[in-house]
Symmetry: C2
C-alpha cells in the first residue's frame, strides 16, 4: 500500500485520528475531530507533516504519490460539495492554511478564496448574486497569493489598492484630497478593474502571469506552506523553543472549503474560549465581528463585539455555539480556543485547540474540571507546568503599561536568571544598598558580579543586576534561593564603581536613579514602573495537595536561615536538604572578623580561639533553623568554599583586619596571597579543609549538636543530618565521620541526651566523579548521599559554571554548534552526568541496600531533572524554597507516570 499523505474530513466523518497530531498538525487534527463528533466543519483535507518532511528530503520536491492523493481528495471534496475548483459557473473555493504539530508562530498563515480566476469569479458573482463580494474575494486572493505564497511585498499590493481608492474611487465619489475612501465604497466593477491592475503588477514582479489554473494555484499554495517551514523566523522560533528537527519534521497543510462571514449582517466570524482564559471561570468568552472574515478579527482592523451581542442578534446560532462549546470541552477535556464563521445564518467551525490561559486560570480550570468529573486528579496534576507555578509567585510589571512605553524605556537585555519584576533606586555597593533599604528605599543592586560578601545587600535589594555571569553564577543562585528578581550577564552594562554610575550604550545612570527589571524576560528598563503582586488562587493549594498524594519521593529545600526555612515550609518543603553554613559567616561584622581571624591564625590554639567566637553564632543559627523546621530533617553541610572567599582582597581591608585582630599587616597580606588558587573550584575546599583544619569541623559539629540539644529540651523534635562536602574517597569520609561522631557524642553526653533522642546522621555529598565511582566504598561509612549535581556537572563536563558563559551558549545554540539540548547547569545532563548519578546510586546501595539518597543541586527544582531523580530511585530532592512547588509537581507527575 502506498504511504498515506492526505487525510479527508467532511460528511460527519474524518480519516484522521486524535492520536495523529504529529502527522496532521494541531489544526488538522482539530478539524478531523470536530468532523467526527458531528460539528459543522466545512469539508476539506489535510496534507500531512510527513509529506512536508519528505518534501525537504527530496530537495523541495513532492514525494511520489502525493500529487495523486491530493487530486483524489480534491475530487472527493468536489463530489461532496457538488462544486468544482475553477468552475466558471459555480466554483468551489478553498482556504489553505499551515498547521504544525506544535503551536509555532512564524509560518505562513492563510490563503483564502483559492479557486477564483478571471472566469470563476464571474460564476461566483452570478451564483452569489453579489458582484462586489465575488471581486472583493478575488482581490483578496490575488493579494494573499502574491504576498504569502509568492513572497512579494505585501505593502506594494496594499499601496496599489490605496492608490486605486485615492484616484479612481475618490474621483467617482468626488472626494476632496485627503478624504479617505472605505473599502466598502469600492464597487464590484471597480474591484474588477483593481484586480486587473494587481494581476499586472504580479506579472511584472514575478515575470509570469497570475495563475489562472486552479490546480497551479493549489500546488503553489501548498508549496508556499511547505516552504514557510524553513523561513528564518520559523527556524528561529524552533531554536529558541528548543524544538528539535527530529521531533517535528514539517508542517501539515489544511485545504478547507471556503465559508463566508462577510455576506452581510446574517454572517460573521468569531473567536471564543470555552472558559474565561484570564480568570478560568466557567463562562463562555469570545469576540464576534458581524459581516467579516476571520482575517479581519486577527488583523484588528475593526473592533469586535462580545458574544452577548451575537446572542442578542442571532440566538439560534448562539445556542448552537453553546452546544459546540460543551461538546468540545467534553471531548477534549480541556478549555478550548475556537474559531468559527457564520455564513448567512449557518455556523461553521474552523478551528479548535487548547486555549492559552493565565496561570491562575490554569489552576482554576483544572480544579473545576476535576469537580465536574471531566478529568481525574492525576490528569489535573499532569497538565500543570513549572511555568504555570513560577508565574503565580512573582510580581510582574503592571500589565496596563503600554508596550510602547516599555519599549521606549528599554535599556538593554540580560540573562533572565530569576523571574518576576523589581523596580527601585540603583546602588552599586552592597553595603550602601543595605543601608538605603533599611531607610525604606526600594533598592536595585547593580554589580559587575556578586560575591558572598554582597549577600547582605543582595538580600536587602528588590532586584539584582550584574554585568557578568550566567544562570548559575553566584548572583543567580543566591537570588533564586530567595525568589528575588535577578538579571545577570548584562554585557553592555559598564559600571564605574568609583564614580557610582553605570552606562549602557551611551545612557548614563547615577546612584539613586530608578531602574525596573523584568527578570522573566531579562529586560532592563530605565525609570520606575508600577508592579502588580502575585496572588495564589485557592485551586493552586488544592491541586498541589493532590500532587503530594501522587509523589513517591519527598521534597526538601535548600535554606540557610530560619526565614528561608519558614518560607520553604509554606511552599511545601518536608525538610532541609542543604543548609549552607558559610553564608552565616557573613552575617555580621563580628562574624566575618572572627572567621578572618581564624584564617590568619598561625597556630592551632589561635585558630581554635577564633573558632570559639563563631560557635555561639552558629549554634544560635542552627537552633533557629531547627525550630523553624518543626521536626523535619535538616541536612547541614559543613563549611565548603575555599577560605580565600572569606578574606579581604584589597589593601585597605587587609590593613583593617590586621589592626582589628592585632596581627602585622604583612602577615595578613601574605596569608591572603597564599590562599590564592588557580582553580579554586578544584582547590582547597569542602572536606579538604576539615582534613587540614579538623578544628573547624569540631566547632561546627559542636554548634550543630548544641543547638539540637537546646531545641530538643524545648520539646521540639530535631533531626540533624551532618553532611560532609566534596568527599572523594571512602577513607576520607571514614576519618571525618569518626571525628564528627566523637564530637557529637561528647556534646550529647554533656547534655545528658542520647542518640535515640537526637538521631543525628552523618552523610556526604556526591559531587565529584570519583565519589560516584567509589560510592560503594563511601557507603561503608555514609548514612546518606546527597548528589551535588552543580559541582558534579562542573567536574564531569570539565566546565566552570562561572566561566562557561563565554562559550556554553554556542554549545546549546542549535544554529551554532547545537551540541547540547539544554544548558547542563539548568537541566541535568542525563546522558553524561546522569550516568555517574545512576552509578553512584547503584554502587552506594550495593553496600547499603536502603541508603537514603537525594539531590541538592540546582537541578532539584527542575522538572525533567526531578523526574529523572525519581526514576533512578532517589528518596528525596531538595531545591530553593521558591522551586519547592515545582519539585513537588515534577515528582507527582513522575509518580503518576510510573503508576501507569
Amino acid at each position: 500500500m502506498a504511504k498515506k499523505y492526505v487525510y479527508f474530513f467532511g460528511g460527519r466523518k474524518a480519516e484522521g485520528k486524535p492520536s495523529q497530531k504529529m502527522v496532521l498538525g494541531g489544526k488538522g487534527v482539530g478539524l478531523a475531530e470536530m468532523t467526527n463528533i458531528g460539528l459543522p466543519v466545512p469539508p476539506g483535507f489535510t496534507v500531512s507533516t510527513t509529506a512536508c518532511g519528505e518534501y525537504y528530503e527530496n530537495g523541495r520536491k513532492w514525494p511520489s504519490g502525493l500529487k495523486k492523493q491530493v487530486q483524489a481528495q480534491l475530487a472527493k471534496l468536489e463530489k461532496l460539495t457538488g462544486k468544482k475548483l475553477g468552475d466558471p459557473n459555480d466554483p468551489l473555493l478553498v482556504s489553505v492554511r499551515s498547521g504544525a504539530a506544535l503551536s509555532m508562530p512564524g509560518m505562513m498563515e492563510t490563503i483564502l478564496n483559492l479557486g477564483l480566476n478571471d472566469k470563476s469569479v464571474e460564476g461566483q458573482a452570478e451564483k452569489t448574486n453579489n458582484r462586489r463580494f465575488a471581486y472583493d474575494g478575488y482581490r483578496r486572493f490575488i493579494m494573499m497569493y502574491a504576498s504569502t505564497a509568492m513572497g512579494l511585498s505585501k505593502e506594494e499590493f496594499e499601496s496599489a489598492f490605496d492608490q486605486f481608492k485615492e484616484t479612481v474611487v475618490a474621483k467617482r465619489l468626488k472626494r476632496k484630497k485627503g478624504e479617505s475612501v472605505l473599502d466598502t465604497e469600492v464597487t464590484g466593477d471597480e474591484l474588477k478593474q483593481l484586480c486587473e491592475e494587481l494581476k499586472a503588477k504580479y506579472k511584472k514582479m514575478v515575470g509570469k502571469p497570475f495563475p489562472q489554473n486552479p490546480w497551479a494555484q493549489l500546488e503553489g499554495s501548498i508549496n508556499a506552506v511547505f516552504n514557510s517551514w524553513m523561513a528564518d523566523k520559523a527556524v528561529t522560533y524552533r531554536r529558541v523553543e528548543k524544538i528539535s528537527e527530529n521531533e517535528v519534521c514539517g508542517t501539515a497543510v489544511n485545504i478547507c472549503t471556503m465559508v463566508f462571514g462577510n455576506k452581510g449582517e446574517t454572517s460573521g466570524t468569531g473567536v471564543a474560549f470555552t472558559r474565561d482564559p484570564n480568570s478560568g471561570k466557567n463562562e463562555f468568552y469570545g469576540d464576534y465581528l458581524f459581516n467579516a472574515q476571520g482575517e479581519d478579527v486577527v488583523a484588528g482592523i475593526r473592533t469586535p463585539v462580545k458574544l452577548a451581542e451575537l446572542q442578542k442578534k442571532n440566538k439560534k446560532v448562539y445556542n448552537q455555539l453553546l452546544k459546540v462549546r460543551s461538546k468540545l470541552e467534553k471531548h477534549n477535556k480541556d478549555m478550548q480556543d475556537l474559531e468559527f464563521t457564520v455564513d448567512e445564518g449557518t455556523l461553521y467551525m474552523l478551528q479548535t485547540r487548547r486555549g492559552k490561559r493565565t496561570p491562575a486560570a490554569t489552576f482554576k480550570i483544572a480544579y473545576d474540571m476535576v469537580r465536574e468529573g471531566l478529568i481525574t486528579e492525576q490528569e489535573a496534576v499532569s497538565r500543570i507546568t513549572p511555568d504555570d507555578i513560577e508565574r503565580l509567585f512573582y510580581p510582574e510589571i503592571d500589565t496596563s503599561i503600554s508596550r510602547q512605553d516599555l519599549s521606549d524605556a528599554l535599556l538593554t537585555v540580560g540573562v533572565n536568571a530569576v523571574p518576576g519584576a523589581a523596580a527601585g533606586k540603583i546602588y552599586f555597593s552592597a553595603t550602601v544598598a543595605e543601608t538605603a533599604a533599611n531607610n525604606g528605599e526600594r533598592v536595585i543592586l547593580v554589580r559587575k558580579e556578586t560575591s558572598p560578601e554582597d549577600v547582605g545587600g543582595m538580600h536587602a535589594a528588590r532586584g539584582i543586576l550584574t554585568q557578568t555571569g550566567g544562570k548559575t553564577s553566584h548572583a543567580a543562585v543566591v537570588a533564586r534561593g530567595w525568589g528575588k528578581c535577578c538579571i545577570v550577564g548584562c554585557e553592555h552594562l559598564e559600571i564605574d564603581y568609583k564614580n557610582k554610575k553605570m552606562s549602557v550604550k551611551g545612557t548614563v545612570l547615577q546612584e539613586g536613579d530608578f531602574l525596573t527589571l523584568n527578570g522573566s524576560s531579562g529586560d532592563v528598563y530605565k525609570g520606575e514602573f508600577p508592579l502588580i503582586d502575585p496572588r495564589l488562587p485557592k485551586e493552586y493549594t488544592q491541586i498541589m495537595k493532590w500532587a503530594d498524594k501522587f509523589r513517591t519521593v519527598s521534597v526538601r529545600t535548600n535554606a540557610d536561615t530560619p526565614e528561608d526555612a519558614g518560607k520553604a515550609i509554606e511552599m511545601g518543603a518536608e525538610g532541609i536538604g542543604l543548609c549552607r553554613t558559610e553564608h552565616m559567616f557573613f552575617d555580621t561584622q563580628e562574624r566575618i572578623d572572627a572567621i578572618r581571624e581564624m584564617i590568619v591564625a598561625e597556630t592551632i590554639e589561635a585558630r581554635i580561639k577564633a573558632l570559639e567566637k563563631l560557635r555561639p553564632f552558629q549554634r544560635d543559627d542552627f537552633a533557629g533553623i531547627f525550630k523553624a523546621m518543626k521536626g523535619y530533617p535538616v541536612t547541614i553541610r559543613l563549611i565548603d568554599p575555599p577560605l580565600h572567599e572569606f578574606v579581604p582582597h584589597d589593601d585597605k581591608g587587609q590593613r583593617d583586619l590586621a589592626k582589628k585582630i592585632g596581627v602585622p599587616y604583612t602577615k595578613v597580606k601574605q596569608r591572603v596571597e597564599l590562599l590564592h588558587e588557580f582553580n579554586p573550584m578544584l582547590g582547597h575546599r569542602g572536606c579538604r579543609l576539615a582534613i587540614t583544619y579538623p578544628e573547624i569541623l569540631d566547632m561546627q559539629v559542636r554548634a550543630i549538636l548544641e543547638a539540637a540539644c537546646i531545641v530538643t529540651k524545648k520539646n521540639i523534635k530535631v533531626k540533624p543530618e551532618i553532611m560532609i562536602p566534596l568527599t572523594m574517597a571512602g577513607r576520607e569520609l571514614e576519618i571525618l565521620s569518626e571525628r564528627v561522631r566523637k564530637v557529637a557524642n561528647s556534646v550529647l553526653k554533656e547534655n545528658k541526651l542520647s542518640k535515640s533522642k537526637i538521631p543525628y546522621l552523618i552523610g556526604t555529598m556526591i559531587e565529584i566523579p570519583r565519589a560516584a565511582l567509589t560510592a560503594d566504598k563511601i557507603a561503608e561509612t555514609a548514612e546518606f548521599f546527597s548528589f551535588g549535581t552543580n559541582d558534579l556537572t562542573q567536574t564531569t563536563m570539565g566546565l566552570s559554571r562561572d566561566d562557561s558563559g563565554r562559550f556554553l551558549p554556542d554549545y546549546v545554540d542549535e544554529k551554532k554548534a547545537g551540541i547540547f539540548k539544554n544548558d547542563p547547569f539548568q537541566v541535568l545532563d542525563q546522558e553524561g552526568v546522569g550516568q555517574l548519578v545512576k552509578l553512584g546510586i547503584k554502587k552506594g546501595r550495593s553496600t547499603k541496600k536502603n541508603l537514603k539518597i537525594g539531590i541538592c543541586g540546582e537541578h532539584g527544582g527542575e522538572l525533567e531533572s526531578v523526574k529523572f531523580c525519581v526514576r533512578i530511585g532517589m528518596n528525596y530532592v531538595s531545591c530553593s524554597p521558591y522551586r519547592v512547588p515545582i519539585a513537588r509537581l515534577a515528582a507527582a507527575q513522575q509518580g503518576i507516570a510510573d503508576s501507569k
Copy 2:
C-alpha cells in the same frame, strides 16, 4: 593443629621454605635456605612475623602457644648443640636479631651472647679456657641488653666502661693522665669487676636487677625486637617508603647459636658481595676483620682488610667461602650480600640477602647472569626498576664531596620534581637567564612559579627552582620533559623579583650567586659543587633490546620540537603521542606577537590575518618534527590552553602590544580582562576554542598538512594524527572532525597528493569524565583515543594540580590522613580514574572494535600506571623523552607477566 609460629634451622635441615619470606623475614629465610643447601649455618630458630603481628593485636602480649613453641625449639637447639642455655658449666649462647620481610632499617639490630649470667660466665670461662673472652662477652651482653632491649642510654654504659678504663685499668697500667687504654688491655678479672658495676647501674636505672634467668633474658629480647617494629624511626621509614601495614604485619626474630670471631687470629668476621656492587663485575668483593665480632665491622671501629688477606692467611676458609659464594648465587640467581664468621678456623654463614648495587652494576649483573645461564632474559628485564634507569641518565653531585661539606652548604629542601643535579648562577627572570646562558654561563632559573612565557629561560637553564607547585606543576612537567633537574615547592624560599634576590631563613642570595640543586633529593645547596656526568653501560642497551621483545604495546613520546623528537628516538620512542602546538607560539617574539594580535582581533578577518602570520612558523615546526620522526606516527594536539595564557598581564606589556599591533591600549586591556577566568582549567580551552574560533583550527590543520606534503615530497613517510583536546560530546567531535577533514583534504588536493599517500587520522583526547562516559558516541567519529590522564585526574578527583600542593600531601601522608597511597598525579589512581579509563576503552571499542587507544598524560612514563594501561588493552603509551625507557621497561614487565 596449632598455628606454627617458630621455625627451626640446623643439622642441614630447616623448616622454613624459600616462599616464606613474608613469614620468616628476609634474614630468617636466608638462614633457612643456607641451612637447606648445606652451608654451615649455626643452628637456631626463627619466630615468625605473624607472631609479631598477633603480639600487637593482643595488646603487646604473646599469642597463645608461642611460649610453648619457643621452649620446644629451644629444647631442640639444646639437644642439637649438646649445650643448655644458662648451663653454669658449658652454657649455650645465642644471638637475637630482628628480620623483617622487607629490608627495613630503624629496628632493633642485635643482641649477642644471650645466655650468660653470673654463673654461666664462669662455665664459659672454664670451658673456653679464656676468662677474659668470657667476661668480655658478658660485658657486651649486659651493655647490649640494657641499651637495645631495655632502651637505656647506650652512652651511659659506654662512658661507665671508659671511666673504668681511665681509673681502675689506667691505674694498674700506671698510665699518665690522657693516655688511653685499649679494650684488649683490660683483664678478665677487671672485666668481671666492670660487669658488676654495669649490673649495678642497670639495677639503679631499671629498678630491677639484671636478669639472671636465661629464659627471662630470651623473652625480654624477643619482646624488644617486637617492640622495635613500632619504634618511631621504623614507622617513619615504612611511611616514607609507602610500606603499608597491610602488606607486612611485623618483624621476625632470629635466635641463633653464637659463634665467635673474636677468639684470636684464627677467628674473624666478614661481609662480602658475590660480585662487585659498584661495577657489577663478576669478582668476589668483601671486607674481613681478624679476631673480631660482626658488630665491630658494622661499627667501623677497626679498619677491615680486603678478602685477599684472608686468602693469604687462611686459604682453606677462603676457598670454602668461594664455594659458598658460587652456591648462593646459583641458588638465589642474584648477586648476594653475605655475612660470615670464622670461629677458630671454622666458617659459619650468618646472613645472605640480595646485594644492593649501583644502577650500572644492576645492568651488568643482570646481563652477565643471562650470559652465564643463571637467569632468563625475562628475569633480567623483570628485575630492573625505573629507579635503576633514571639514575643512569642524570648527572649527580660529585660523590667525592664529603657529607659534611654538603651538609654545611644545605640551604633548604624542596620537592624533588626531576632528578639529577645542576649547578650555576641564579637568575630570577627567564629572559635574563636565557641571555646569560647564551653568553655561556651555567644558569639556574629561580621563580615563584613558571608559566609558558618562561619556557625559553627554562630551556636555557641547567636547573629550575620554584617556590610553589608540586610534582605536576608547570615547572615540573616541562622540566621532566627535558630531563632537566628541577626542584619545586620550596616553601621557605622568598623571592624578591624587584631587587633580584632570594632569601632562605635569613640567608640572602643575589642574582649571579651560585647554587647547586640535587633534583633527586630536593636539596638546595649554596655555592657551586662539581657534578659528574652519567654514563650508559652497554648492558643497558642490551637489556632494553630484550625488553622491547617482550612488549605488546608501543611506546611513544611527548615532544614539541625536532630536538625533543630526536632525543626521544634515541631513547627508544616509536612515535610521538603528544605534540603540543602551543609551546611553539612562545618560540620567538614574532610568534607571540602574532598570536596576541589574533587574540585581540575583533573581527574574523583580523583574526585570520594574524593566524596567517603564524601558519608558516607552525608549518616549519611540524615539518621539522615529521623529518625527525622518520616515518613514525606523530600525534599533534590542536591548541589547548586558554587564550589568557598568551596575553601580557602587566600594564607595560599591554601598552607595548597595543603599540605593536596598532590597537588602542584600552581595547587590549579590556580584552585581557575579559579573558580572565575563575577556573581556567575548566574554562574556555581545548576544542572549545575551536568551536568559538574555528579559524584557529583551520590554520593549524592547514599547517600540519602542508608540512606533511612538503616532507612527503622529500620521500619521507609522514603519519600525522590530528588530536582534538578536551572533547566532551560526540557531536562536538563530529563538528570539528568535519572541519578538520575539509581543510586537510583541500590541502592534499592543492598538493596533488591523496590520503593514501598521507594517511592522516583524526582522533581525540579523552580527558574529562564525560568523554569517557560517552566514549561510545565519541568513537563514532574518532579514529583514535588518547587518554589525557593529567586532566582526567584533575576532573575526576576535583583536584587542581596547581593548587593541590596545599593539602594533597596530607592525603598521601600515612601518618596524617593517609587516604591515598600515591600522589594521583604521579601514579594513576586505578581505583577511581582508572575506572573511567576502563569504561572509556570498553565503550569506545563497543563502537569501533579495533579503535587505537593510548595514554599521553604524565602517567605514561610511570611503572605501575603503564602496567595498568597494558593490562586494560591500550595500544600505546606516550611519555616525556627521558621516561621512554621506563615506559619500555614497564610495558615489557607487564608483557612478561601476561605471557605466564
